[in-house]
C-alpha cells in the first residue's frame, strides 16, 4: 500500500482547477458548431448538409443551427467552411432548449422558468447529491459522467456526491433519448426525488434525440439544463451541474 501512496504523491497535482480557472480544450477539439457570420444568408441546400436536421434555413434565407440536435460530425464544416466552424470549448450547456439555437431568437433571451434548485441550492450548501439514469444512451455518456469522479476532474471538491438512492438525490443526470422500456423507470425515479430537484439532459441524444430518436428527455419530463455533445466532455457536464445548482450564471 505504501508503494501505491508514493506512486500517487510522485505524480503531483493533476486535478483541474475548473471553474476557478478556465480549462482550455485542445486545438482542433470539436466542442460546438459556430456560425461564422450570423447575418449571412444562405441557400436552402445548406440544411441538407446535416444528418440530424440541426441546420435550418428559413424563407428569408436566414441560417440557424440547433446545437441541441448537432452530433458534431463535421459534415457542414467540411462542405461549407466559410459558414460553419468548430469552436474549441467545453462549456456548451444551456438552461433552456431555445438557448441552444444560434443565432439567438427573442425567445432564447427569456429567463427559464424552472430555477427552483438553483435558487434553493444555497440552503443545501456544498453538498449536492447526484443520481444518474440511463435512458438509452450509447454508453459513452456514462464514461464521461464516471470520469467526473476520477483524479483529473474530482468533482467532489466542488461538493457533488454520487448517490445510489433517488430518494437522496438533488440532481438527476439523464442520458439517452428515453426508450420505451425506460420511460416508466425514469418517471418513477423522478417522482421519488425530493424537491427542490433539477434534471440535466446529458448528451445530444438526451437533448433532442439527435441521430437516434425524434425527441429527447423533455418530451417526458421538464429539463432544467441541456448539455449537448456526442458525448459531452466531463468539463461540459461539470459546467452543466454548476448551472443546475446556480453556482455559475448561464
Amino acid at each position: 500500500m505504501l508503494e501505491w501512496i508514493l506512486r500517487g504523491l510522485s505524480q503531483g497535482r493533476i486535478t483541474t482547477r475548473y471553474p476557478d480557472r478556465p480549462e482550455a480544450a485542445p486545438s482542433g477539439y470539436r466542442g460546438q458548431i459556430e456560425l461564422l457570420d450570423e447575418r449571412a444568408e444562405g441557400p436552402g441546400e445548406l440544411a441538407a448538409l446535416c444528418p440530424t436536421g440541426a441546420i435550418a434555413v428559413d424563407d428569408a434565407g436566414r441560417v440557424s443551427v440547433d446545437r441541441g440536435r448537432c452530433i458534431l460530425c463535421g459534415a457542414c464544416v467540411q462542405a461549407a467552411p466559410e459558414r460553419f466552424a468548430f469552436e474549441q470549448r467545453y462549456e456548451t450547456a444551456a438552461r433552456s432548449r431555445q438557448a441552444l439555437i444560434v443565432p439567438p431568437t427573442p425567445e432564447s433571451q427569456l429567463e427559464p422558468l424552472s430555477q427552483t434548485l438553483a435558487e434553493q441550492a444555497r440552503a443545501l450548501g456544498r453538498s449536492i447529491h447526484v443520481r444518474h439514469i440511463d435512458c438509452g444512451s450509447d454508453g459513452a455518456e456514462e464514461w464521461e459522467i464516471q470520469a467526473l469522479w476520477n483524479p483529473y476532474y474530482d468533482i467532489q471538491r466542488l461538493g457533488f456526491f454520487l448517490t445510489a438512492a433517488p430518494r437522496h438525490a438533488d440532481v438527476l443526470l439523464v442520458t439517452g433519448p428515453v426508450t420505451r422500456a425506460l420511460r416508466e423507470p425514469l418517471e418513477r425515479t423522478w417522482e421519488v426525488m425530493p424537491a427542490p430537484k433539477a434534471l440535466v439532459a446529458v448528451g445530444t441524444d438526451a437533448c433532442s434525440g439527435g441521430l437516434v430518436a425524434e425527441q429527447g428527455v423533455d418530451a417526458v419530463l421538464p429539463v432544467d439544463v441541456y448539455v449537448p455533445g456526442s458525448p459531452p466532455a466531463p468539463i461540459a457536464i461539470m459546467h452543466a451541474l454548476l448551472l443546475a445548482t446556480g453556482a455559475l450564471a448561464a
Binding site: 501512496i5 458534431l72 440511463d134 438509452g136 454508453g139 464521461e144 483524479p151 483529473y152 426508450t179
Partner: protein, 374 residues
C-alpha cells in the same frame, strides 16, 4: 407507482427463504440500463437471468435509406465506447459490397484508432475491477491511465471517442498530432502503465478476490461461441485480427494473449497482455505511417447494389456487421455484437460465487448494454 412490480418477476428457484432481486434497470452508480434477475437464498446464486433490451433504440432500422457516408455516423453510436470498432466494421462491409479498397495509409490510421480504443476499454475494465474489490488507489491510477488515452484521442482526432474520422473508403483526415508527438505520448503512457501494472498484480487483497471467481470452463465458451477477452481468458484463442485478418492487421502480425484458468483474474491477465500487444501494434503502425505518404480515402463508386459482411475485433470481442446496399443507399444493416453473445454466457458465471462477488464478475466481462440492445 413506487412499489416494485412483482408480477414482472418470474422466479424458478423454490425453497425456504429463496427470493428474487430485480437488480436494474436503474442501478446504483453510473451504469448502463440492464436488469439482472437474481434468485438467491441469501448468498449463493442458483439462478441468474440477464434481461437486456431496455435500451433498444432500433439502431439497425436507422440505417435504412441513408447513404453509406452518413450510415457511419449511426454505426459510431451503436455502442459509443467502441465507436471506432463499429465505424470500421461498417465501413469494411460497405467497401466489400462496393468492391472498393481503402488506401494503406487509411488502414494504418484505422489500426491506430482501434488499438487506442482497445487500450481505453481495457483500462476502464481494470479500473472497475479495482473499484469493485475496494482497491480505490488502484482505481484512481487506472482511471488516470484511461483518461490519458482518451485525451490523446481528443488531441489526435478532435473527439474524445475518435468519432467522425473513419468513413467508408478510408479516413477523413490525418491525425492532428505529428507522429513524434504521438509516439512520445505512447512512450510516456507505457512507462506509467508498467509501474501501475506491477503494483496492481502485487496487491494480494485484490488478486485474492479475483482468483477462482466467476470461473467459466472452456466447454461453456465453446458451447456459446463466446468471443473476446472472455473466451481468451478460458483458453480459447479466438481473435478476428489473427484468424480473419483485415485492414492493417494483414501486415502487422499478432500475438494472441490467452490464459487457461477461466476466472476473473485470467480475464484481467488477458487484458494486461492485450495492452502490451496494442502498444506494440501502435508503434508498428506509427513506424509504417512515417514511411508512407499517399491517399487517405478512396472515393466510393457511382451508386450500385451489393451486400457484404464486415468484421473487426472490438475491445469486447468479434463484431460482425452485414450491409445491403440498393443503388448506393443502405437498405438493410444487421449487427452481431460481441456484447450480446457474451451476455448470454453471463448467466452461467456464478457456479460457486456469491452475491458480494457480483459486481467484479460483471465488470470482468467488460460488456456494453448499448451494443447488445442496439
Amino acid at each position: 407507482l413506487t412499489e416494485p412490480n412483482a408480477d414482472r418477476l418470474d422466479p424458478a428457484v423454490a425453497g425456504l427463504d429463496v427470493f428474487t432481486i430485480p437488480y436494474g434497470p436503474v442501478r446504483s452508480g453510473i451504469f448502463e440500463a440492464i436488469q439482472f434477475q437474481i434468485e438467491t437464498g441469501g448468498e449463493d446464486i442458483p439462478r441468474l437471468q440477464t434481461r437486456p433490451f431496455f435500451k433498444h433504440r432500433g439502431m439497425e432500422q436507422r440505417f435504412a435509406g441513408l447513404r453509406p457516408e452518413r450510415g457511419v455516423y449511426v454505426a459510431e453510436r451503436v455502442a459509443g465506447i467502441a465507436s471506432v470498432a463499429y465505424a470500421c466494421a461498417f465501413s469494411q462491409a460497405v467497401e466489400r459490397a462496393l468492391d472498393v479498397a481503402p488506401p494503406p495509409r487509411a488502414e494504418r490510421w484505422r489500426a491506430v484508432y482501434a488499438e487506442l480504443e482497445r487500450l481505453a476499454c481495457h483500462l476502464d475494465v481494470i479500473a472497475k475491477q479495482a473499484e469493485t474489490t475496494a482497491l480505490y488507489v488502484g482505481q484512481a491510477r487506472f482511471q488516470i491511465l484511461k483518461e490519458q488515452i482518451v485525451r490523446l484521442r481528443a488531441r489526435l482526432t478532435g473527439s474524445r471517442f475518435a468519432r467522425g474520422v473513419i468513413c467508408p473508403g478510408g479516413v477523413r483526415r490525418d491525425g492532428a498530432l505529428s507522429l513524434d508527438e504521438l509516439l512520445g505520448a505512447i512512450d510516456a503512457f507505457e512507462r506509467d502503465l508498467r509501474r501501475d501494472r506491477r503494483l496492481f498484480t502485487a496487491t494480494a487483497s485484490m488478486t485474492d478476490r479475483l482468483v477462482g471467481s466467476g470461473r467459466l470452463p472452456r466447454s461453456l465458451i465453446e458451447q456459446y461461441s463466446a468471443v473476446g477477452p472472455v473466451a481468451r481468458g478460458s483458453g480459447v484463442s479466438t481473435d478476428a485480427r489473427h484468424e480473419r485478418p483485415y485492414g492493417d492487421y494483414q501486415r502487422l502480425g499478432l500475438q494472441v494473449a490467452t490464459r487457461p484458468e477461466g476466472d476473473a483474474m485470467a480475464r484481467v491477465a488477458v487484458r494486461f497482455g492485450e495492452l502490451a500487444e496494442s502498444l506494440r501494434l501502435l508503434r508498428q503502425s506509427i513506424d509504417q505511417l512515417r514511411r508512407q505518404d499517399g491517399e487517405l480515402c478512396t472515393p466510393l463508386p457511382p451508386p450500385r447494389s451489393g451486400s457484404a459482411f464486415g468484421w473487426v475485433e472490438a475491445p469486447q470481442g468479434e463484431l460482425l456487421i452485414w450491409v445491403e446496399l440498393q443503388r448506393g443507399m443502405l437498405r438493410q444493416v444487421h449487427i452481431a455484437s460481441p456484447s450480446l453473445r457474451n451476455w448470454a454466457l453471463f448467466d452461467h458465471a456464478f457456479p460457486k460465487d456469491v452475491l458480494t462477488d457480483f459486481a467484479f464478475i460483471e465488470h470482468s466481462f467488460g460488456l456494453t448494454a448499448a451494443g447488445a440492445d442496439r
